[in-house]
């Protein structure tokens, strides 16, 4: 097996181990509570019968390991358990929302990644010039702002003042695609602003770092045009860190959707999770938490593998 292939197999194996451990953490975290979740949820209203009921519903009366195995086998066959709040199956509650969340994150990625890569390259091309400085200041500011601040400023400017866009991104299963895209412009814009700054700054840094190397100097002395030096000579070697940061930002997008979904009342998994935390609907929170965590872990894994594939020198690190 080639060294690259064996590395990939090793990383994927490690990823599965991480997933297994994380699923155990998500599951057994309930046992951190002194006493018992059933009593905690009921609070003042706890009577022996109600406590016993909730315990049975949560399965707390069975041995933990047995419950964990049941939970995992259930998850693998598409049975995510039932919500405590309304007794409905979690798969039914979360199914459409999962699609919505993936759609929102995907739409945001499709807008933000090309945009931030272009801005990063432009900033590197005109470094220390006015355009570079203004891109940088804008990026630094965008990084420091809480997402909900960006969201409300956008709502204020584009919905209330200009009247161009709807302030709520309420979509349902039968919303046509065009309408759905129109309604999610504001959430996508918010996510783009929150994420693009990181990618752009790292793209610029990766390229600027390389511009001091002798082979770039050579290309420049041959009389090549600046954009050609950057696109053909610097960019391929800066690919590894850039791919890394792009994938990590996808991971960030998946988590970042939580706040944005709440602001825009977008029916996604993040909103479901926040609602369920308020209601202490632990089974739903565990299921959504595991979804976000595993997406995050898988994207990190992809970032690792892609970085090394793009720059085989990294195989021989240390």
């Amino acid at each position: 097996m080639s060294p690259l292939a064996s590395m990939i197999v090793k990383r994927i194996g490690l990823g599965f181990v991480t997933l297994a451990v994380v699923s155990a953490v998500v599951f057994f975290a309930v046992y951190l509570l002194p006493g018992d979740l059933a009593e905690e949820i009921l609070g003042q209203a706890a009577t022996p019968e109600t406590v016993a009921n909730i315990r049975r519903e949560l399965g707390l009366d069975r041995p933990p390991i047995e419950r964990y195995v049941d939970w995992i086998t259930g998850l693998l066959s598409g049975d995510f358990g039932r919500s405590l709040a309304n007794g409905r199956p979690i798969a039914e509650l979360a199914g459409m929302r999962l699609v919505n969340t993936l759609y929102l994150a995907g739409f945001a990625a499709a807008v933000s990644i090309p945009l931030s890569l272009t801005l990063g390259i432009v900033a590197a091309l005109y470094r220390e010039k006015l355009i570079d400085r203004s891109i940088n200041v804008a990026a630094l500011t965008a990084i420091s702002l809480p997402e909900f601040f960006i969201a409300y400023i956008l709502i204020f400017a584009l919905t209330v003042k200009a009247g161009w866009l709807p302030s709520l991104a309420t979509v349902s299963a039968d919303t046509p695609l065009g309408e759905r895209m129109f309604r999610s412009i504001l959430p996508v814009l918010t996510l783009t602003l929150a994420v693009a700054a990181h990618v752009m700054r790292l793209t610029r840094a990766a390229i600027v770092n390389l511009l001091a190397s002798p082979y770039i100097e050579m290309a420049r002395l041959k009389g090549l045009k600046p954009w050609r030096v950057i696109l053909r000579h610097a960019l391929p070697n800066a690919l590894a860190p850039i791919i890394n940061v792009v994938v990590l930002n996808l991971a960030y997008l998946i988590v970042g959707v939580v706040v944005v979904e709440v602001v825009f009342a977008y029916p996604g998994l993040g909103q479901l999770m926040v609602d369920s935390v308020g209601k202490r609907d632990v089974p739903v929170v565990q299921a959504t938490c595991l979804f976000f965590a595993s997406t995050y872990i898988m994207l990190n894994l992809v970032a690792d593998v892609a970085t090394i594939a793009a720059d085989p020198r990294l195989l021989h690190r240390r």
């Binding site: 951190l32 909900f148 601040f149 988590v255 935390v277 965590a293 995050y296």
Partner: protein
């Protein structure tokens, strides 16, 4: 002290801006009862009153004075963020320094635990724990401090690993000094510069983290005045073209930018890059 004065004199404008804004926040936070025109939870008029009159910035969704709530918010939101950051540093920094100094199986075990905790995105992890332990300020502070401690652990451990192999630490070990002496007298003094810069950065993270949770209604609970929940409670006003809900959000953003400027300057100084 003289060093500090020279350093301040040579600080760039951005650092000065950062320091002045942060100082203003501290002043407002400490003097909240004196500066604020009304009590924190006092109802002074109808809900959502416009700007002007006795309430310069109008009233909130329950008729409490907006300006007063903003001032008390500095005390509560910033205060809780500081407490959380300090707690995270005590836990993460302490364990990290010990782990990097003693190494061996302790370090291995702690390292793996931290790896697992860092594999789960922090907002998601905190939501899970809040669902289990219930939403209260105490559980929020503990949960965020624990999650952030994993990040500080990494840095403190790396610093201790680097310093613990230096000759003067070896000398102290051979002299027979105990672990506590080694950490507090030999390692910590040489790790302060990066740790202080990290404190600023972590504070920003924690502050935004707490604001986000409070905005989601899962952090600081009413009737405590807090910027995140103020945005949430008054967000409806935005649709009427009123910018009041943007003020607490702006207060959060301004402090984050200010602290970032100070941290930038500190990092610049400690890395030895003097313009």
């Amino acid at each position: 002290m003289a060093d500090l004065a020279t350093a301040l004199r040579s600080a760039p404008p951005s650092a000065w801006f950062g320091i002045s804004v942060s100082a203003l926040y501290v002043f407002v936070a400490l003097g909240a009862p004196v500066v604020a025109p009304f009590g924190e939870t006092q109802v002074v008029g109808p809900a959502f009153a416009p700007w002007g009159g006795a309430s310069p910035l109008g009233t909130d969704n329950l008729g409490r004075d907006m300006a007063t709530r903003l001032i008390y918010g500095a005390r509560n939101t910033v205060g809780i963020a500081v407490v959380t950051t300090v707690l995270a540093f005590l836990i993460g920094g302490g364990i990290g320094l010990i782990s990097g100094t003693v190494r061996g199986w302790v370090d291995q075990v702690l390292g793996r635990i931290v790896d697992v905790m860092m594999a789960i995105p922090s907002l998601i992890f905190s939501l899970l724990l809040l669902a289990i332990f219930g939403t209260s300020v105490v559980s929020m502070i503990t949960i965020i401090a624990l999650i952030e401690a994993t990040r500080i652990f990494r840095l403190a451990r790396a610093l201790a690993l680097g310093i613990a192999v230096l000759d003067y630490v070896e000398a102290a070990k051979l002299r027979g000094e105990g672990l506590i002496w080694l950490i507090t007298r030999e390692i910590l003094p040489n790790a302060t510069a990066p740790l202080i810069a990290e404190f600023g950065l972590r504070f920003c993270f924690v502050f935004l983290f707490i604001s986000a949770l409070s905005f989601l209604g899962l952090g600081i609970q009413p009737p405590t005045a807090d910027w995140g929940s103020m945005v949430r409670d008054n967000a409806a006003l935005i649709s009427y073209g009123d910018i009041t809900p943007l003020l607490p959000a702006g207060a959060i953003a301004l402090l984050t930018v200010a602290v970032n400027f100070v941290v930038d300057w500190l990092l610049h100084r400690s890395s030895g890059l003097k313009d």
